[in-house]
């Protein structure tokens, strides 16, 4: 399938990426080639490989729900902007 610049713009919107016209064009060309390659999956007979081929998924072993104590200062130190003991959020409109 050939992806258009408009398709890339729409995918960018969903993926929270603002792409220049030049990037949209380059990605459309590159991703079209990749999609053409992965399209070989659509030719495979999935019905013939289904159900009996599926491996049973072992149940996920969960740990006890014990809170992990992380020092607040350690987490606060990660924020790009902070004020005292608060993370500063930009003044969004």
């Amino acid at each position: 399938m050939q992806l258009s610049d408009a398709d890339i713009a729409k995918l960018g919107l969903l993926g929270r990426l603002d792409l220049s016209a030049e990037k949209r064009h380059a990605y459309a060309e590159q991703l079209s080639r990749i999609v053409a390659y992965v399209d070989k999956l659509r030719e495979a007979d999935v019905a013939a490989t289904s159900t009996h081929l599926r491996q049973p998924v072992p149940p996920t072993k969960l740990r006890d729900d014990v809170p992990v104590v992380v020092q607040a200062d350690t987490v606060l130190a990660l924020a790009p902007r902070r004020e005292g003991r608060f993370i500063v959020s930009p003044p969004f409109a």
């Binding site: 990037k23 590159q30 992965v38 289904s50 902007r81 969004f92």
Partner: protein, 486 residues
């Protein structure tokens, strides 16, 4: 005595006899970093003072009579997508440029508990997305065998560091070949364990159902020693499995009676003649050494790269959604009257590189309504088919053997603007991730004066068989402990 040529076992013997101190060994490696890393560019951060302090403490333990075991006094490099408390952990991305890890990854803690000396954090393709380490936002690592060529990727910094004697061993991560392909390009041993063998807690995620941490070393025994240290269940990673582990002696049983399946990979189009020739030589060599060679085919293995491309991009697009510029990472000031959505979109557009952006776009596409059945769900059904076929193959053979990569290390820039061609360089490594089996690359010869890697794959949770085959090959071929010329 060149301290950097000693294996882990030799180092431990020297420590025990008092012939050498941990500090002297650590300084020898730090000196090599100072001399060579300007050209190799393997490290993003060198932890020199921390390493010396640690070495001094270990020497005090030796002085008190402690017997060196595990990774005691072993200078190691770790890939910069592994968290180490209080150190910068960038995952090779501008969006994490200023991120200082608030905790230590389980695998790194296990290294420290075993007495390792961490020399620094190594370069990688951004979020481990790539096969050449050219996608790093910070620098392009070169191959110590030929600095005009790539070291492979995404664990290219770790591989280059070990090949250039800037570390004795290293940790990498492998989602589709990111340990084995650079090991092949740099003349090293590189292991991807079975998914579930090693904890992913504290590893910056690329594709959570495929990511696995493993070792890079100059000998099979050293790769095994690192693997033994990091392996095992972890409460912080519920996908880890308490599967039986195998003894150290099993890696030295030789080829006699070992059934080695050979896939037709080396004869496929796109494989360099020099690589195909070395693989054929290796098969002949193993047969002479007592292995029983069984030609095999796994029909759906040819779809592995397409399956991988869908699964890895789908998971990556989801995993990268957390990088919004607010909670951690790079500070980019908002413009006035900018909405939250506009701001996070701008941050991601500025601070994520081209390959993460491509994977976000492709993953968003393969997961979107109308396409998820055609791509994502179909890829999972076919992944199960590949795994089933591998299981059947391992009813006939103990291990599978083939090339690690279709080529030797390629020139810097050759594939950088052609992502599909770059992806194809992982065509032989991806199947082990898709089938979830352990796989190890080791040097099997040279072509164009560059190392060629061969790959052993084994049944799920049977790393011992992979190590046994690799140890036998190394012992009988004399290909172990090769280093790039200085």
């Amino acid at each position: 005595m060149d301290l950097k040529r000693l294996t882990i076992a030799e180092l431990h013997a020297a420590y025990a006899k008092g012939d050498v101190s941990v500090e002297a060994v650590t300084e020898a490696y730090l000196d090599a970093i100072t001399r060579r890393d300007g050209k190799v560019k393997a490290y993003l951060s060198v932890l020199a003072s921390e390493a010396i302090t640690r070495a001094e403490a270990l020497d005090q333990r030796l002085a008190k009579g402690e017997k060196p075991m595990g990774l005691f006094g072993v200078p190691i490099a770790i890939k910069d997508n592994l968290c180490l408390l209080g150190t910068r952990t960038t995952a090779g991305s501008k969006i994490l440029e200023n991120y200082v890890a608030p905790y230590t990854a389980t695998v790194v803690q296990r290294l420290l508990d075993a007495g390792a000396v961490i020399l620094g954090k190594t370069n990688l393709d951004e979020f481990a997305m790539g096969s050449s380490t050219e996608n790093s936002a910070f620098q392009k690592t070169t191959n110590p065998w030929d600095i005009t060529r790539v070291p492979g990727g995404s664990s290219g910094g770790s591989a280059a560091a070990v090949a250039a004697e800037e570390a004795l061993v290293a940790l990498g991560s492998d989602t589709g070949g990111s340990i084995r392909q650079p090991a092949s390009f740099c003349g090293l041993v590189g292991l991807k364990p079975t998914y579930g063998r090693v904890s992913r807690s504290g590893v910056a995620a690329l594709a959570s159902s495929l990511d696995q941490v493993g070792s890079l070393a100059r000998t099979v025994a050293d790769a095994f020693a690192v693997y033994q240290t990091i392996v095992g269940p972890d409460a912080a990673d519920p996908t880890t499995v308490d599967a039986p582990r195998h003894d150290t002696m099993s890696i030295s049983k030789g080829f006699k009676g070992l059934r080695v399946g050979v896939l037709p990979g080396a004869t496929l189009e796109g494989v360099e003649a020099g690589v195909a020739a070395r693989v054929a030589d290796a098969v002949q060599f193993m047969e002479k050494a007592g292995a029983h060679i069984v030609p095999l085919d796994i029909p759906h293995v040819r779809l592995s790269l397409a399956i991988y491309a869908v699964i890895v991009t789908s998971e990556a697009s989801s995993n990268l959604a957390r990088y919004d510029g607010l909670r951690y990472g790079k500070e980019i000031l908002p413009k006035s009257s900018e909405s939250f959505s506009t701001y996070t979109t701008r941050v991601r557009s500025l601070a994520l590189g081209a390959e993460p952006q491509r994977r976000i776009l492709l993953g968003t596409y393969t997961l979107s309504k109308g396409y998820a059945d055609q791509y994502y769900h179909r890829a999972h059904a076919l992944q199960a088919a590949v795994a089933w076929e591998f299981d059947n193959a391992f009813k006939q053979v103990d291990v599978l053997f083939g090339p690690t990569s279709p080529s030797v290390a390629f020139p810097l820039g050759e594939k950088f603007n052609d992502p599909l061609t770059m992806y194809l360089s992982d065509v032989f490594t991806v199947p082990a991730n898709i089938a979830n089996v352990p796989a190890l690359s080791l040097p099997i010869g040279f072509s164009q004066k560059l190392p060629v890697g061969g790959q052993f794959m084994g049944p799920r949770f049977r790393e011992d068989l992979v190590f046994r085959a690799a140890a036998a090959f190394e012992a009988e071929s004399g290909m172990g402990n090769v280093v790039a010329p200085a």
